[in-house]
């Protein structure tokens, strides 16, 4: 006899109004509305105003969005953000995957290596920025010291338009690749060993097992990692703020950096909110891409 009918009959005997589930949800809903949904709506309404935090907001309709469409600095920030995405996302996804593959094997010192690679992720962004500022300094930085010995430097990493964004990308990969590695490791450990063993018994080599068993079964994990990486990369702010402040010139000006500049440096909160909503719309569009992926990937 199945246990389910018994449970169902017991559940039917419990008295409760239709509001009971909502009452259980209420504490979370209150927090959600106050601190998530409310600010989201408030932010959008702010984007329709001209407001400097103090005083009364003046309704300007879509004027901020129209101004944004003809603002060359906005396009510079968008282009720089996409460049940063191209520099970091493949390295973060592929690097995380390869590190996870390596450290999923029974190697000596595997635990210590996992900790060392993940450890930077636990550091505060300001600490990471200051640390790499010193490493990359053009005149007394550690990296340039060794590059000079190899007659390859010094390179003005953070003050050259060509090198500044790659330098920030390098810092970001060092800082966050451990996070992707941990997610991939969890995904790898979910794959049943029997499948790989069966493939090997059938004569599959290491590459065949990787391409035909591991990679396909990791697709849901890979999708999560790719989406999280795109979202986090598109919202890059801290390391840019600490390391270059968006410079030199506008070479490392990113969307969130520009949002911060408009909203909190020049007190144009409405315009800053409009940048936030356009960034949100771009991210939303990217997130919807999974609808066009094969069904087993999106699952």
């Amino acid at each position: 006899m199945s246990i389910l009918p018994a449970l169902a009959s017991r559940r039917a005997g419990v008295r409760g109004s239709a509001a009971t589930p909502y009452l259980f949800l209420l504490p979370y809903l209150v927090v959600f509305v106050l601190f998530r949904f409310g600010p989201v709506v408030g932010g959008f309404l702010t984007s329709l105003t001209s407001w400097s935090i103090v005083g009364t907001p003046r309704f300007v309709g879509l004027a901020n969005y129209r101004a944004l469409a003809s603002d060359p600095l906005f396009y510079t920030a968008l282009k720089n953000t996409c460049y940063f995405l191209v520099l970091t996302a493949p390295a973060l996804v592929l690097g995380g995957f390869l590190l996870a593959l390596l450290l999923n094997r029974p190697l000596w010192g595997r635990g210590a290596a996992r900790v060392l690679i993940f450890a930077p992720y636990a550091m505060m962004s300001a600490v990471v920025g200051i640390l790499w500022n010193w490493i990359l300094d053009s005149n007394f930085g550690l990296l340039n010291f060794y590059l000079a010995r190899l007659h390859l430097g010094p390179i003005p990493w953070l003050s050259s338009e060509a090198a500044a964004m790659p330098a920030i990308a390098l810092t970001t990969v060092w800082w966050t690749v451990g996070y992707n590695m941990v997610i991939f490791l969890a995904g790898l450990q979910e794959i049943p060993h029997e499948l790989q063993e069966a493939a090997r018994i059938d004569g599959a080599g290491a590459w065949q097992v990787l391409w035909s068993i591991t990679v396909p079964l990791l697709r849901p994990t890979t999708f999560v990692v790719v989406m999280l990486t795109i979202i986090n990369t598109f919202q890059v702010f801290d390391q840019v703020y600490v390391m270059t402040g968006g410079g030199p010139g506008t070479a490392t000006l990113t969307l969130v950096q520009y949002l911060y500049f408009q909203a909190f440096e020049t007190f144009r909160l409405g315009y800053g909110s409009a940048i936030a909503y356009v960034t949100f719309a771009i991210l939303l569009a990217l997130s919807w891409l999974h609808r066009f992926l094969p069904s087993e990937v999106a699952a």
Partner: protein, 432 residues
């Protein structure tokens, strides 16, 4: 038995009589005052010491000083206004007053300053004028700071230069920087075979951020060129004079090779003897005094064109609008005390605005202030315009920073930079 009772009664009576004297009277709680300033370096420690001294001397007040970098400090100020919890005393610069007074956040303080016993002739003229916007006084000044030139005396002597003859003109200055710039083979920039890719020691470190724009501002002022219209609605500097100013700065980096290209930390370059001179403000003095074995002095920002001029600014105290007049008056008591004790504040490197303190033997005896004090009469401060936060933002995408970096880091054509700067400034100034 009866005697015992009498004794107990006497003791009880004596306790009752003596009680008011024996039990301390509870003192009135001190007034808490909130004081915000943007001093995050060694200057913050000096101000903290002054506040501690004020608290000891004034038990009726308890002042709490909060220091943050200027930009986040002003963000915090705006959000605190929104939350109805403003600081009682807020430090800022002359160019910030227009923005915050236009927003209606600052209390006019002319009367309070007068009641505190101060008048205009007590202060340096430029400092006093910097407390006014459209004829109304919104602040009391404590100091002035300006660009000057730090000189490493050991490297100066090694180059065979006379420490009694520090450069004052642009020509002398460039000649000295070339003498102080040495490549791996010991050659100087004007020597045959000089290798700019193998420079061991540079003559000069200088900022390439918003302070790069401030140097340009000083150089167009040296040519007698106005920057903006009197009402701050339009940029009116001439192309030729702007180009000449930018070109002089750019040549130091790309033609004369006396400044490292793309410096990220000029102060550190000077401290580590990578460069022999440094253009910076007096706020570096407190840090330099702690560097062991570094012998240095200061001289004026070079006079490159017709008249001497150096960028300057200052710190001043404002009182934000709030409902309690008593708290505002208490804040003025604190501000006035700090101004009168600005002799100690001078230890932070800043030059006191109060003339009596500036001429005191104590201040004149402080090391390394000579260059800064000498150029005070020629100090030029940024104009006070209502959207100064936008126009003079020190953040990377601002017009003034982008222009300075285009000239000093990218080596862009200066005429194009002049045109771009004018276009962006006029677009911002036209914004209502």
């Amino acid at each position: 038995m009866r005697r015992t009772w009498v004794l107990i009664l006497c003791v009880a009576l004596s306790i009752v009589v003596a009680a008011p004297a024996a039990i301390p009277v509870r003192a009135a709680a001190p007034t808490d005052l909130v004081f915000w300033g943007g001093w995050t370096g060694p200057d913050g420690d000096v101000m903290r010491g002054l506040v501690d001294q004020f608290n000891k001397e004034h038990p009726e007040f308890k002042v709490t000083l909060t220091t943050l970098q200027w930009t986040p400090l002003f963000d915090k100020f705006l959000t605190s206004v929104r939350a109805g919890q403003v600081p009682d005393l807020l430090a800022m610069h002359p160019q910030d007053i227009a923005q915050f007074s236009t927003l209606g956040l600052l209390e006019p303080v002319g009367e309070m300053v007068q009641h505190a016993g101060f008048k205009g002739s007590d202060f340096m003229d430029v400092a006093w004028k910097g407390t006014f916007y459209q004829g109304t006084q919104y602040a009391i000044p404590i100091d002035m700071h300006m660009h000057g030139v730090y000189v490493n005396l050991d490297l100066w002597a090694q180059a065979g230069l006379d420490s009694n003859r520090l450069p004052t003109t642009g020509t002398e200055f460039v000649a000295a920087t070339k003498r102080l710039t040495v490549d791996a083979a010991g050659r100087h920039p004007d020597d045959a075979g000089f290798d700019p890719k193998a420079i061991k020691q540079y003559g000069l470190a200088m900022p390439n951020n918003h302070h790069g724009f401030y140097m340009w501002y000083a150089l167009i002022s040296q040519q007698g060129d106005p920057f903006l219209t009197a009402d701050g609605s339009r940029a009116i500097f001439s192309d030729a004079k702007s180009n000449a100013a930018w070109q002089w700065l750019q040549d130091l980096v790309f033609k004369d090779h006396v400044v490292p290209v793309g410096e990220t930390n000029p102060y550190q370059d000077f401290v580590t003897k990578r460069t022999a001179m440094l253009i910076d403000g007096p706020w570096q003095i407190a840090g330099l005094e702690k560097v062991p074995g570094l012998r240095w002095t200061t001289t004026t920002f070079p006079r490159v064109f017709n008249a001497p001029a150096a960028w300057g600014s200052g710190h001043l105290f404002t009182i934000p609008k709030q409902s309690s007049r008593a708290r505002q008056e208490a804040a003025m008591t604190l501000a006035a005390w700090l101004v009168r004790h600005s002799q100690q504040w001078a230890l932070s490197g800043n030059v006191p605005a109060l003339l009596s303190v500036r001429s005191s033997a104590f201040f004149r005896g402080l090391k390394g202030r000579r260059g800064f004090v000498a150029e005070q009469p020629y100090e030029v401060i940024l104009p006070d315009i209502k959207n100064s936060a936008q126009v003079f933002s020190a953040a990377a995408p601002s017009a003034i920073v982008v222009s300075a970096q285009a000239v000093l880091i990218k080596g862009d054509q200066v005429s194009r930079v002049t045109q771009d700067l004018r276009a962006r400034l006029n677009a911002m100034l036209a914004t209502p």
